[in-house]
């Protein structure tokens, strides 16, 4: 099964780095969607079937934490796996997002970290209801 993956980051360079890491990782990819803030990301989630969201925290318009809150509040999107990729260093904030069911990757990261985390998250989400 190949996954539809949404990448939400205000840096186009970081989005490309994540995409490259995903392609190198061997994760089966169906469609890749990109958004530059949480609001654009939510719009894409409402338009397409998304299997995994990879999201930054600090973005203008709507940040990553707010986007995760919106995803979790909506029954149709509440079980979408989320990986936060950020340079955030506050353990308090990271714990808060983990409590929302998100996994966390710290920037800078290696492609191996992306691969391992995506595999772990997607293995645990096989029973996501359609």
């Amino acid at each position: 099964m190949a996954f539809n993956i949404l990448i939400v980051d205000d840096s186009s360079v970081m989005r490309k780095i994540i995409i490259k890491s995903l392609r190198m990782s061997g994760v089966p990819i169906a469609e890749l969607y990109e958004a530059s803030n949480g609001k654009e990301g939510l719009d894409l989630v409402n338009q397409h079937w998304i299997d995994l969201v990879i999201v930054d925290i600090n973005m203008s318009v709507m940040n990553g934490e707010e986007m995760i809150d919106h995803l979790r509040e909506n029954l149709e999107t509440s079980d979408i796996p989320v990986i936060v990729v950020s340079s955030e260093g506050s353990e308090t904030r990271v714990e808060r997002m983990k409590n929302q069911g998100a996994s966390f990757i710290h920037k800078p990261f290696t492609p191996e970290t992306i691969r391992d985390t995506v595999k772990k998250v997607m293995e645990g989400s096989n029973e996501r209801s359609i």
């Binding site: 360079v13 970081m14 260093g89 308090t92 904030r93 800078p108």
Partner: protein
């Protein structure tokens, strides 16, 4: 304490450049500041337990290679890509540095980084004394990093 602070600053800067852009760098504390006419400058502000900004000025000739390394491409990168790459570098350095001096549980809001125009470069130099400065040598250029913390110099 100030020496320890500076040491951590250098460590975060060199580690980030190496991990994010595959660029090796070396502290060059004794030299003059970079020639700002030949540099591109980016800045990011933050608020939290304390507020301030991190400014990075880097030799223009280094930037295309830095962006290409980050993107993993051989072809020439565009100016927007290069600026975006610099903004990401300064963002990651800031995100990694703040918890090392404020503590792991403190929460900061890091603003969206921006490119500083040539005119504003001159202004920021007279915009108070930086709390810490890291001057580094790169293979084909230099970079200066200025940390400003409001109310501290």
């Amino acid at each position: 304490m100030r020496d320890q602070f500076k040491e951590i600053f250098y460590q975060v800067v060199t580690d980030t450049l190496e991990a994010l852009a595959f660029i090796f760098s070396f502290p060059e504390d004794q030299r003059d500041t970079i020639d700002y006419d030949s540099a591109l400058t980016t800045s990011v502000s933050f608020t939290g337990p304390f507020s301030g900004k991190l400014v990075m000025a880097i030799s223009k000739q280094v930037v295309p290679g830095l962006a290409a390394n980050m993107l993993g491409v051989d072809e020439e990168t565009s100016l927007p890509q290069q600026q975006d790459a610099l903004k990401e570098v300064v963002n990651v350095i800031c995100g990694n540095f703040l918890p090392t001096i404020a503590g792991e549980h403190e929460i900061f809001t890091i603003d969206v980084p921006g490119v500083i125009s040539n005119a504003d470069q001159a202004r920021f130099l007279h915009d108070g004394k930086p709390t810490s400065v890291a001057k580094i040598k790169l293979e084909s250029g230099q970079a200066d990093f200025y940390l400003f913390i409001d109310g501290r110099d």
